[in-house]
Symmetry: C2
Subunit: 436 residues, 2 copies
């Protein structure tokens, strides 16, 4: 597969050389793209070079809007929540929901657990009893040997919480795991966990072979992004008679609960319902330099834990109140990764008054529930499109090269009308023709 697009040693080129290679290959007739790549460089060279260190083969920056949703009431404190999202209306929806629940006493959030998991996955065809005995014999000794790796974490209140043998040989012949539970304090803890697992596994392979004359085959040593014990619960309650929504409180609460019931029983709805929750959560995760792929994977797997994919949030009526709540696993950190080295992530954490990991879990969960509330609220009242239409019109206009005056006129004209590309084009053409 010889090819003029094949390149040898790309990673060794410097940024200018990499861009130059693109200029000669994929962007041959696109000088404007070369300009764009450079236009997104930060004027501060030190900052720019910092960002180029985060990933490999970096040519430029991809920017996402950094926004604020103020008036977020969580456990009696008010937050301005930093959100990073490219999806229009998400921040506005969060801010609206925050204000709505502010009037009903705000969000209550609590962390139910902060345990993260990791596994040494191995195959072995001897007696499971020997494995268990090996663990009992070496547990303490290995904890000592690992001290150089755990000492710092222990000082911060974290460490290894348990090691257990799990027998999975019913699923695959001879498959076992050493299953670890960790507390990683305020860090995401990926490097900590993986280092412990690799060390422990090295000790295990060597010692077990010597003591039992049998070498287990270790295949994988890695943290899990499924952390059902790293869980936060968030709840909001409103007195139904006090609900102000344009319909009676009873009617609103009844419709709200029905919408949540649908998301519980129908996976096609549950996926989108949960996607709305993640719109809020990921925006906080991104803003604070956390890893949204990890959070997404854990949350959606949790949504499927019963054997049927279902909604993460729930609503019901009790004692004249509409109760709206969610439990979600969120393994977040406020140290480690890029949380402290991305200056905007550091600023986001400052805006949040430097929360610890538990506090950040609560903030992210409340933002997710708020986002979910806004989506359901729109859906059961005016429908989702009316709110989106202004945004949609905005996007259409951005592509149509309209003047400021035309933009204003079109926005006014379509305020209470259905927006679709053809209608906007026709209206614009009509005006331009009349003016010509």
């Amino acid at each position: 597969m010889a090819d003029r697009f094949f390149v040898e040693g790309f990673s060794k080129k410097n940024k200018e050389q990499k861009i130059d290679w693109l200029r000669q290959t994929y962007l041959k007739n696109k000088p404007e793209d070369i300009e764009i790549l450079k236009k997104y460089w930060l004027p501060d060279k030190h900052l720019q070079s910092l960002h180029e260190g985060f990933a490999e083969n970096t040519l430029s920056n991809f920017t996402l809007p950094f926004s604020i949703a103020p008036n977020f009431p969580i456990n009696g404190k008010l937050y301005a929540v930093p959100m990073v999202t490219e999806e229009s209306s998400v921040v506005a929806a969060a801010a609206k929901a925050a204000k709505f629940w502010f009037e009903h006493g705000g969000f209550r959030a609590e962390v139910k657990g902060k345990i993260k998991t990791g596994h040494i996955h191995f195959f072995y065809d001897g007696s499971p009893a020997d494995l268990q005995k090996f663990l009992d014999d070496h547990k303490q000794e290995y904890a000592e040997r690992l001290r150089p790796f755990t000492e710092n974490m222990e000082k911060r209140g974290g460490g290894i919480r348990s090691v257990e043998l799990e027998n999975h040989s019913d699923k695959l012949p001879g498959y076992y795991t050493w299953t670890f539970r960790f507390d990683t304090a305020d860090s995401m803890g990926a490097n900590f966990i993986n280092t412990i697992l690799e060390e422990w596994s090295d000790y295990f392979e060597e010692d077990f072979a010597r003591e039992y004359g049998l070498k287990p085959e270790v295949v994988l040593r890695i943290l899990s992004n499924y952390n059902p014990e790293c869980l936060v619960k968030v709840r909001a309650e409103a007195v139904i008679s006090a609900l102000k929504t344009g319909m009676s409180g009873e009617e609103y609460a009844r419709r709200f609960v029905k919408a949540l019931d649908i998301a519980r029983v129908n996976p096609y709805r549950a996926v989108t319902h949960n996607k709305g929750i993640m719109n809020g959560i990921d925006a906080v995760v991104l803003a604070t330099g956390n890893d949204f792929r990890a959070v997404e994977a854990g949350a959606h797997a949790y949504a499927s834990r019963s054997g049927k994919y279902t909604s993460l949030s729930n609503a019901f009526i009790r004692d004249g109140k509409l109760i709206f709540e969610m439990e979600i696993p969120l393994a977040l950190g406020t140290v480690g990764g890029v949380t402290r080295i991305h200056p905007m992530a550091k600023t986001a954490l400052d805006i949040l008054q430097n929360p610890d990991a538990e506090e950040l879990m609560k903030i992210a969960a409340a933002t997710g529930l708020a986002q979910n509330f806004s989506a359901v609220h729109s859906l059961i009242t005016e429908g989702i499109q009316k709110g989106h239409m202004r945004m949609h019109l905005n996007n259409i206009l951005l592509q149509m090269n309209v003047t400021d005056e035309e933009r204003k006129k079109l926005s006014d004209y379509f305020r209470n009308k259905k927006v679709h590309v053809r209608a906007v084009k026709e209206k614009l053409e009509e005006w331009r023709k009349n003016r010509a």
Copy 2:
């Protein structure tokens, strides 16, 4: 809950006023953060203002590295894949996997379907036969009435593909859906789908009430992010005897398949395994201005479709070959959303030679499988930490205020050693003391 942090009319303030409010409240003692917010503004004011239009309450930009993984062989064509990720080693891993599979004939990808779904969720306590009759009577007429909304989409090859009644009253009393299948051509199609659903629903409510004297209660009208018929398949095959990995081809293939078997049977591993796939996919999704929350929700729900959360990819040995493949739902667009209005997303699409939606699905899927390959490869050979350690050291050094000379010395020193914060600190202090 009166509070000095409460703010009225925040969205109506301009950007400077919003930042000023933060300066007086949450960032009172953090003038450096105010500086940071401004340092990330793009020097080109027109560009900056464009980005502020994407979301609400936008104060600045959050930057993620925009990188390139070259030499990506997909269906006989070579791509340089634009990737946006904050996670170090992801781009390097993709590039490495691309080169590895280049030597084995590359990735084969095919789109198995491009159908997206949407629903009108409603409650009704009459006869389901009446609903079915209503649909049969009005299907054609409604298609005509919707013409102004579907015309453009039909010109581009898309449109409504089917409408069906689904009876869910076994799950919730009186719960039904009008279930729509759409082809949205090269667009993500969210606005198109939601508009059709809301229109159709309006016709339905009015006409059904008139004809049958019974008003169904429509609760939700919305697209689904669960799109198991919007599916792409990607596959790579290597002749086992030709595998060059530092162990015999047979041994490598055997270990590789075992690692995939583990991810198939153990959800704790499957979640992390799939997270690795999404590291690659999301980086392409972000770079091209698509919505990663939608893609994540759909992919993980698909991973749980059997009733047990499992791996999205699979590997097996056949006819002397290691076969590695994946099927994943990816509802992507190359028009709509910010794909064409974010200049960096447009550049990313140019670098990919302006693929249509199907081509982009293939590219993203191949990048996901490549990422998965690199992760499994590291895990079954040297372990994941050795590769991460260089990155980890880099992050530690970024926080330690080291000189360039110290950075070089520490990097050399730790090249083949275990990296943990304490060890790096100790070494640095030792050198500094000796020098003093």
